[in-house]
Amino acid sequence: EAGVAQSPRYKIIEKRQSVAFWCNPISGHATLYWYQQILGQGPKLLIQFQNNGVVDDSQLPKDRFSAERLKGVDSTLKIQPAKLEDSAVYLCASSLGQGRETQYFGPGTRLLVL
């Protein structure tokens, strides 16, 4: 079974530029999550989708971050414009459903904002 796929794996941009990340969850997984992991910290949930609907985006900085999962499968996370403090690893995870389901993480996208 293929795991969670993410691209790109690395991205370097200058502040105020825009960037987008892509995630393809495990086939059949209804729930998709985007996490931000700053160096030396645990992952922090940005947004959670159930199929193509948003379940929780309370910690998403909506003035600059946006995410969508239009067809309930793939998802994109965008940052516009980027700030220095957005430098982090952006992890996508998926699970069969909500609740206490095991979450499977992708390899992440490492973003460096200069």
Binding site: G42, P43, Q98, G99, R100, T102, P107, G108
Partner: protein, 109 residues
């Protein structure tokens, strides 16, 4: 909001020594999940604890959930170099995982 605190932040051990990381919360946890993240890698699910006082074992790893469901621990017996990484506890209820800061384990061969 809900917070889980993890200690220690770092631990250096000699290969063969034991290792323990602790996860604490000021409020009752619905469940605790443990993840391992290798250097440069992504979190990988290890186990989930749900019941008060629950103890689960995976080979050299022993996971415990406190009686009051406010703390949890992960104990590794006779560490090996393959155990190197950061171990996270996370509280999850409606799917939203709240991670601790993690304990980074270094093992000297």
């Amino acid at each position: 909001g809900q917070q889980v605190m993890q200690i220690p932040q770092y631990q250096h051990v000699q290969e063969g020594e034991d290792f323990t990381t602790y996860c604490n919360s000021s409020t009752t946890l619905s469940n605790i999940q443990w993840y391992k993240q290798r250097p440069g890698g992504h979190p990988v699910f290890l186990i989930q604890l749900v019941k008060s006082g629950e103890v689960k074992k995976q080979k050299r790893l022993t996971f415990q959930f406190g009686e009051a469901k406010k703390n949890s621990s992960l104990h590794i017996t006779a560490t090996q170099t393959t155990d190197v990484g950061t171990y996270f506890c996370a509280e999850g209820n409606t799917g939203k995982l709240i991670f601790g800061q993690g304990t980074t384990l270094q093992v000297k061969p």
